[in-house]
Symmetry: C2
Subunit: 221 residues, 2 copies
Amino acid sequence: MSSSPSPRKAAANERRRTNDPERTKADILLVATEEFAAHGLSGARVDAIAERTRTSKRMIYYYFGGKDGLYLAVLEKAYADIRAIEAALDLDLLDPIEALRRVIDQTFENDDSHRDFVRLVSIENINQAKHLAEAPSIRKINLRIIEILGAILERGRAAGLFRSDLEPIDVHMMISAFCFFRVANRHTFGAIHRVDLSEPGRRQKHKQMIADAVVGLLMKK
Amino acid sequence: MSSSPSPRKAAANERRRTNDPERTKADILLVATEEFAAHGLSGARVDAIAERTRTSKRMIYYYFGGKDGLYLAVLEKAYADIRAIEAALDLDLLDPIEALRRVIDQTFENDDSHRDFVRLVSIENINQAKHLAEAPSIRKINLRIIEILGAILERGRAAGLFRSDLEPIDVHMMISAFCFFRVANRHTFGAIHRVDLSEPGRRQKHKQMIADAVVGLLMKK
DNA sequence: CGTTGAACGTACGGGTTCGTCCATTATGTC
DNA sequence: GACATAATGGACGAACCCGTACGTTCAACG
């Protein structure tokens, strides 16, 4: 609409232009993430998403095919973003207990700071994970955390510290359950018990609590 | 439409008639619970609910005012049903550890067997507990579990068994988190990790695990 | 047995929402 | 600089969905 001053300096495989599909897609995805997280799949409105975008509704259908396609893309991106953080963990040098505490800390902070992600997962569960089942990429991303935990447990057992009847996936579930719940259910829990779960003091207390509980459970007596 | 053979034998304050408002309300509530649990608040369709009912859509508006009123009634009933079970617990005679294990067991079984309730709570959280906040009855119902836990902790401390820096609400949250998560998130968790969380063996393992974790956390070292 | 109010059914109107059609501008290529 | 293709915008239609207007049946009571 305004001028297009940028010279079309296109390297072999590098595009630069005012028609910017990447930016358009990213913009749509960002807005859609907020809308889906706020209202759910059936509650979110395509028109509302389009309105908040730099671009038009037409582009949503152009790039994502429709509401479902957009939702799936949002879901994939949300999972990819949060798991990328976990994948970056490097814990091989730490002793098993310390490594375990790091994983817990990371999960706690991840869920705490990615509320949209947590909500999207809740929404997907209400929808019986039907969309997620069609996104094999998500599955691959998530196996990383199991590997990490598996390695830690292995080393802990080798050192005679950990009991051996708990599988990585059970430990992962226990950690996730607590970290996820305190974010996902903070509204009902807060309304019923009149507490603010994100209040710093309680937050810190809970973080300590879940870590102690998991480590305590794993340690041999 | 068919015959109405029942004689109108009406005691002073006991009505018997083919026009049966109580039954109609209960019927609507039952169907609505399933529909809201299955599709969420915005996803559920008033027409669909009405269709599955013995009666008509008109009755939904007649008795519940509208979609929101119906949803609120469903929510209240769901909470009332599940907490009534907890309220029946009588644990004063048990030693604190055993009593605590009973509470955990009860919560586990409750969430496991009331999936619609779990889903409704998830849905309400996605809606930021806006409806629940307007239902003071629900709050009252839920305080019972905190009282129960408080009494157990008190006795445990008096006996020198339990640490004293954890409040009832924190313990309740930890228990709820795990019991709730394994039901609410079983779809995504199952899809990603290819496990069936309701499979009896794993179910039993998790029940043991959460109980051990909570008891272990509370016990003085 | 007639009246009155509660309980119920049918049909529809008004607004909303998804998706598409058609037209237009930008970009890369020869 | 002309042409093919990608990217974009606006407007619109058809289905859907909530809530209600209006009419009918049922139960208690004099």
